[in-house]
């Protein structure tokens, strides 16, 4: 527990000293996956908070039509897909990271989003629509910081060069799209199979 908390707190170090931080995270820190789970939970929490507590001026969603659970889970799914794809591709291109390490690094890269989302939510209650540029600025900073951390994390744990990391990231995106396509095909085939057996069952039931 103590070690998990230590690793959790180490996140603040990682986002300011990424090269050093991710290296430590990979090689020396203990209980990284449970610490990462706490951070992942916080990302989801912040996403929910954004939907629920942003002021009306900056709300982008219609509260009545928003599924909070889905919004909270979507981040987990994206991180999961990224992890699996990145691992699958990097093992072919002699990456040095395990799936767990990629998972942890990606989640730690999201820490700036957690940290900056809270002032953003507070600011929405103080600023008017014309002053919304400040919110956009903070949001963009969080996004860029996140992308930079993902790249640096990947460089560090995979032991890649910058160009290779970028190429691998693009390939990972392509892989995710392909995987989503294949999954939807699989789903539709399974549905048809199910319907086929359901029809046979119904035919048999009705004829006796």
């Amino acid at each position: 527990m103590q070690e998990t908390l230590q690793t959790f707190k180490y996140g603040f170090h990682v986002i300011f000293h990424p090269f050093d931080g991710f290296w430590e995270l990979k090689h020396h820190k203990k209980n990284t996956s449970s610490a990462a789970l706490i951070w992942l939970f916080l990302v989801s929490l912040v996403t929910i908070a954004r939907i629920q507590f942003s002021s009306f001026v900056f709300g982008t969603t219609v509260k009545e039509e928003t599924n909070i659970l889905l919004n909270a889970l979507i981040n987990v799914v994206i991180v999961g897909a990224w992890t699996v794809m990145n691992w699958a591709l990097s093992t072919l291109a002699d990456g040095k990271a395990t799936m767990k390490q990629i998972w942890v690094a990606t989640i730690y890269a999201q820490i700036p989003i957690v940290l900056l989302q809270i002032p953003i939510i507070l600011l929405t209650h103080v600023l008017t629509a014309e002053e919304g540029v400040f919110i956009m600025l903070l949001y963009n900073i969080a996004q860029l910081w996140f992308y930079a951390l993902v790249l640096i994390g990947n460089i560090t744990i995979q032991d890649y060069t910058m160009t290779k990391t970028v190429i691998m990231a693009l390939l990972t995106f392509a892989g995710i799209i392909a995987a989503v396509f294949l999954l939807s095909v699989l789903m539709s085939v399974l549905m048809q199979l199910y319907r086929f057996f359901a029809t046979i069952y119904a035919e048999i039931m009705f004829s006796f």
Partner: protein, 487 residues
């Protein structure tokens, strides 16, 4: 108890008789028959979903040619109501213009007239317009001309095919709809005239093409055209602008025009330079008609503008009439396709006169008259005040509207604006939020924020000072903590 149930199960003859008498009286007294309104009544909420609401307009009655006293109408194509309430119908199939008084009683018809001593007649006239001075302009479609009659319906003059270098000589000129502004300028929507509305001077000379719709230039199409041979280019369809279907002129002399077969920007309000200055609520691009996307684009065939700037547009495809106010907020939707009273088969023209809406059905040769309900009256009262900028006066009517239809978005915005004017910003914010109107909310919030800051100025200043001190202390503590961590 037992006896009671028995009498209930087996009612005696007296009771049956008395019930029958009551029923009979009901049937007799019910001279005005009320039927359920045959179309859905709805408005759109801020999420773009249709929500039910009470009717703003209900069908009052249907008038046929026989009721008017002029025989059946045959494929009538246009309807016009003059300022004094006279009704002009372009009875296209019967080659005549029918003129009725405001009670829908036949006054006379124009079909054969004396053209400088010679006998002349109309041939499939598709459009009619009556100016304030009483001149009647008829788009005599198959004769390729516009015929003008004076206030006693006597022949005055003919305005023939426009002649100019920009118009090809061999083109068939078929004037369809016509409108005349106060200066006497004549605007004609004609078939094959894709350059825009044909504008004639008061003297009948061709002036210019008016309000030309820019041709849509598809970049993908342009890319493929680079590979076309000369033969292919000749055969390929030209990038033609869309054709106008109808037009009308409002009090200020702006031309309102409708366009068919388009999803966006179908209604135009053109100033004298031919520039579109219509206002739209900006909710769903510049699309008019339904907000739920349809696979078939609406076919707007007619428009009518009332003196307060509200306009009614008629969609020939769905058979619905949409009412908008001058700033482009949708007020009411009514009508539809079908056989009952209040529905149409092929609605072709819409006109309004003193809270009544007239819709002409081409296939049936009938005019359906719609009248406003109480709800419609409240909305129009509130809207008129609101459009005049009398937000505070509009507060009460809007509240009345809201009591009858809690789904009416414009009422929330109206009340919000009233509270804003009354400097009750908190209330204004509440109503703007209910309307889903972010811009208004932000505007009210700005004032509210200033108010709060001014009222609690001393508190804020002391809080800021405390915060600065607190941050300094916190920073020191954090530094200590960081040092201890490193060790």
């Amino acid at each position: 108890m037992k006896a009671n149930t028995k009498t209930f199960l087996k009612p005696n003859k007296k009771i049956i008789l008395s019930w029958m008498i009551v029923l009979f009286i009901f049937i007799l007294s019910n001279q005005i028959s009320y039927a359920a309104i045959p179309y859905y009544n709805y408005s759109y909420d801020f999420t773009g979903n249709p929500v039910p609401g009470p009717a703003g307009y209900i069908p009052e009655r249907v008038v046929k040619g026989q009721d008017m006293g002029c025989g059946a109408l045959k494929n009538p194509m246009d309807l016009f109501v003059a300022h004094d309430g006279r009704i002009f119908i372009a009875d296209t199939g019967n080659n005549r213009i029918v003129i009725l008084n405001k009670y829908f009683k036949f006054i006379r018809e124009i079909s054969v007239f004396s053209n400088n001593g010679k006998e002349d007649s109309l041939k499939s006239p598709q459009g009619v317009y009556c100016t304030e001075s009483g001149d009647v302009y008829v788009a005599d479609t198959d004769n390729a001309r516009v015929v003008v009659f004076d206030e006693y319906y006597n022949f005055k003059r003919i305005i023939g095919k426009p002649e100019a270098e920009v118009i090809p000589k061999n083109i068939v000129y078929r004037p369809q709809k016509i409108a005349v502004d106060r200066m006497g300028k004549i605007y004609v929507v004609a078939e094959n005239m894709l350059e825009g509305i044909v504008e004639f001077s008061a003297g009948g000379e061709f002036n210019r093409f008016f309000g030309a719709t820019p041709a849509t230039n598809n970049p993908i199409e342009r890319f493929w055209r680079m590979f076309y041979t000369r033969e292919q280019k000749k055969k390929a369809v030209l990038f033609l602008p869309t054709e106008y279907t109808n037009l009308t002129i409002d009090e200020y002399g702006f031309v309102y025009a409708t366009i068919k077969n388009k999803r966006f920007d179908q209604i135009k309000r053109l100033n004298s330079a031919g520039k579109n200055i219509i206002r739209h609520d900006g909710f769903f691009a510049d699309a008019f008609g339904e907000r739920v996307s349809n696979r078939v684009s609406p076919q707007f065939v007619d428009i009518s503008v009332s003196s307060n700037g509200n306009y009614y547009i008629l969609d020939n495809f769905s058979g619905r009439i949409y009412e908008y106010n001058a700033s482009g907020d949708m007020l009411f939707i009514f009508g539809g396709i079908g056989d009952q009273v209040g529905l149409f088969i092929n609605p072709i023209a819409v006109e309004q006169w003193k809270d009544k809406i007239f819709v002409l059905d081409e296939s049936r040769g009938e005019i359906t008259i719609f009248s406003t309900t109480d709800f419609g009256k409240y909305v129009s009262e509130a809207n008129n005040l609101y459009m005049d900028g009398k937000y505070i006066d509009a507060l009460e009517p809007w509240q009345k509207v809201l009591r009858m239809n809690a789904n009416y978005r414009l009422a929330y915005i109206g009340i919000g604006n009233a509270y804003y004017k009354l400097e009750n910003y908190k209330e204004a914010m509440k109503y703007f939020e209910l309307a889903g109107y972010r811009r208004g909310y932000s505007k009210a919030f700005k004032e509210y924020r200033t108010e709060v800051l001014r009222d609690n100025f001393s508190w804020f200043v002391s809080a800021i000072i405390l915060l600065i001190i607190g941050f300094k202390l916190l920073f020191k503590a954090f530094k200590k903590f960081a040092v201890s961590l490193n060790n």
